[in-house]
């Protein structure tokens, strides 16, 4: 991990030690221990963060509105509802349905059944935020994904080579295994590469040389298939980082 990488990770490290035991930060913190310039940067960052948070906390909201919320809305939450007959009926229904369907349903992280690969990628991006490994070492990232049995990235768009790897994740989903590799580039702009294990499950994807550009929600995406895998490269539309630029040599 180099200092640029460590700074991005440590920018979300909270100033009062709440994250001290989170393995997500361990490599970056170790780097700071070994590198005096990074250590000085971290101390300065933490001091700034603590000061700024203190200043924000000095803003107080109008007290009369608070009293009104407690007086008016609080009353409606106090009403006791006859919840148990409904809860009992719902539990029985769920139990029955689950027992009937359980063995026929695919296991893993539930993803929408009929969603396109673009929708699956944005669903993962927006609802399943996690990074299993933080590392700037692409070989380490590949090894980690391989150990987890996730689909590995192979040929990558030329523009990604100029970016730094930030970390990765794999999921076992109801739509098959999916891997994610995050890249960070100039101006700390981020792109996310999702790799789906079976391109055959997502018919119609073009090959690597002719990726399809799409917009899905707040994401600008490039989609392609290669060596039996389906790929989605995504960047938030407001990031100012067009995904098509990664395919220009």
């Amino acid at each position: 991990m180099n200092n640029d990488h460590a700074k991005i990770v440590l920018s979300v490290y909270r100033p009062h030690g709440q994250d001290a035991n989170d393995p997500f930060f361990s490599e970056a913190l170790q780097q700071a221990k070994l590198d005096p310039s990074l250590s000085a940067w971290l101390n300065d960052e933490q001091r700034f963060d603590a000061n700024f948070a203190t200043n924000l906390r000095s803003i107080t909201a109008p007290a009369d509105a608070k009293t009104m919320i407690k007086a008016t809305m609080g009353a409606s939450t106090g009403r006791q509802r006859r919840w148990w007959p409904l809860a009992l009926a719902a539990s029985l229904a769920v139990l029955l349905t689950t027992s009937l369907l359980f063995k026929f349903r695919p296991s893993g992280l539930p993803l929408p059944e009929n969603a396109t690969v673009a929708q699956l990628a944005t669903n993962l991006a927006e609802h399943h935020a996690s990074i299993g490994l933080m590392s700037g070492d692409f070989a380490k990232v590949r090894q980690w994904i391989s150990d987890k049995g996730g689909p590995l990235p192979d040929d990558l768009p030329p523009g990604l080579a100029k970016m730094m790897v930030l970390g990765c994740e794999t999921w076992n989903t109801t739509r098959g295994k999916v891997s994610l590799v995050c890249f960070v580039g100039e101006g700390k702009k981020m792109v996310h590469l999702y790799i789906f294990e079976k391109a055959a499950d997502h018919p119609g994807l073009p090959d690597f040389a002719h990726p399809r550009m799409e917009k899905e929600g707040n994401w600008s995406l490039a989609l392609w298939q290669n060596h039996g895998r389906a790929y989605v490269l995504g960047s938030p539309t407001d990031s100012g980082l067009p995904v098509e630029s990664f395919f220009h040599t």
């Binding site: 979300v12 000061n51 924000l56 803003i59 509105a65 407690k70 809305m73 939450t77």
Partner: protein
């Protein structure tokens, strides 16, 4: 979900939610509306939540979504939505926000790119973890890191510029004790 718990939630989260709303909205009234709508949603739907420890993320997520809905609605009604913040606020309303440091901090936040503002504010308000911020905003962790990192850089630049702009005045950030 019982009334005492609701009272407790309001006591705990009213101020932080208002600060978050104030960072997103165009003025104090709008921020107050967002805060009230959030608690109204809780009163309406929060009963279903069995794990009270998740109330924090729930409340902030609802407030953020309310803000996005309001913003979309405003954009449909008017294309001249003004992002300027403190220009809109009458002086007497500003006095509601007690400390000058707080006003400086909020003013600086309103000058940074709106894309970075929400994650940066959540980072500073009540110390949300990067995972909670990702959950509230519905973006991947990598994007959270990128936006916070870039947002903080902008924030520092704005604060430096604001400090430099006030000749002879003290720096806006209060110094806290170092450990």
């Amino acid at each position: 979900m019982d009334a005492p718990l609701f009272q407790q939630l309001v006591d705990t989260w009213y101020d932080p939610l208002y600060r978050f709303a104030l960072s997103l909205a165009r003025n104090g009234d709008e921020a107050l509306d967002l805060t009230q709508q959030t608690f109204a949603r809780w009163a309406e739907k929060g009963h279903g939540m069995r794990d009270a420890s998740k109330a924090k993320s729930w409340l902030f997520t609802v407030l953020y979504r309310e803000f996005l809905n309001t913003k979309r609605h405003q954009q449909r009604e008017s294309t001249s939505a003004d992002e300027a913040f403190f220009d809109d606020i009458p002086a007497e309303e500003r006095s509601v926000q007690s400390a000058a440091e707080g006003q400086d901090a909020m003013a600086a936040l309103h000058q940074i790119d709106p894309t970075f503002r929400a994650p940066v504010v959540l980072f500073y308000l009540e110390n949300h973890s990067y995972l909670e911020i990702a959950e509230i905003l519905g973006v991947p962790i990598g994007t959270v890191m990128s936006r916070i990192s870039r947002g903080k850089e902008q924030l520092r630049r704005k604060l430096r510029a604001s400090t430099a702009g006030r000749s002879g005045q003290v720096i806006p950030l209060r110094q806290t004790k170092e450990n």
